[in-house]
Amino acid sequence: MKNFLFVMRRPPHEGTAVRESLDMLMTVAAFDQPVRVLFLDDGVFALKAGQRPDVLGLKPVEPLLAALDFYGVEGLWVEEESLVQRGLRPEGLALPVRGIRRAEVAGFVAGADVVVNG
């Protein structure tokens, strides 16, 4: 048993990176490994409410994020400073996520056995 931490730093709708990371994440979770997800930097844009990727003919990411609970993912965290720098607010997110301060990130990462760059 290993504690996995997926650190999501890429913006959505630019290639398939975010979807591929979520596929990997769900695979790990399906094998009953503890999984946490941390959204940092441009990765926080994946959480924004009201996204319409269908306008560009792209598939939405939000249903995948909403399904993570069903896969037994321990939780979603978002760095508060990343939100503020990008003009986003916690109430403008599509999903309930826990806030974490930048100063707490190092300890959060150090507590994982495996860190996946999502």
């Binding site: 930048r102 190092a106 990462v109 760059n117």
Partner: protein, 102 residues
């Protein structure tokens, strides 16, 4: 046993080095490789941030990636340590977990 942070993008093209340094913990290590080795040049715009980080973390630079880019050891800023591939493996064994900022 601190975290080993891997950064591979030039600081002049990507914010990933600064984003990494903003989240390192005391006793962590940062390894600059591929395009990120340009951050190690004396006088680089990234140098002040790296010098500040040295108070809390060790910063390593992958020597083969410097050589490939024509950067001599004398051109590397004070306080940064050069490692070869064996040193990279050793760092990987001495730290956990490993976080990539690619």
């Amino acid at each position: 046993m601190g975290v080993l942070h891997l950064v591979n993008r030039s600081p002049h093209q990507s914010a990933s080095l600064a984003q990494c340094l903003a989240r390192v913990g005391d006793g962590d290590a940062v390894l600059l490789l591929e395009g990120a080795v340009y951050a190690a040049l004396k006088g680089s715009a990234a140098a002040p941030g790296l010098q500040e980080a040295l108070a809390r973390v060790a910063v390593y630079v992958l020597a083969p990636d410097l050589a490939a880019r024509g950067v001599a050891a004398e051109e590397v800023a004070e306080g940064l340590a050069l490692v070869d591939y064996e040193g990279f493996v050793e760092l990987s064994l001495r730290h956990a977990p490993i976080q990539s900022w690619f």
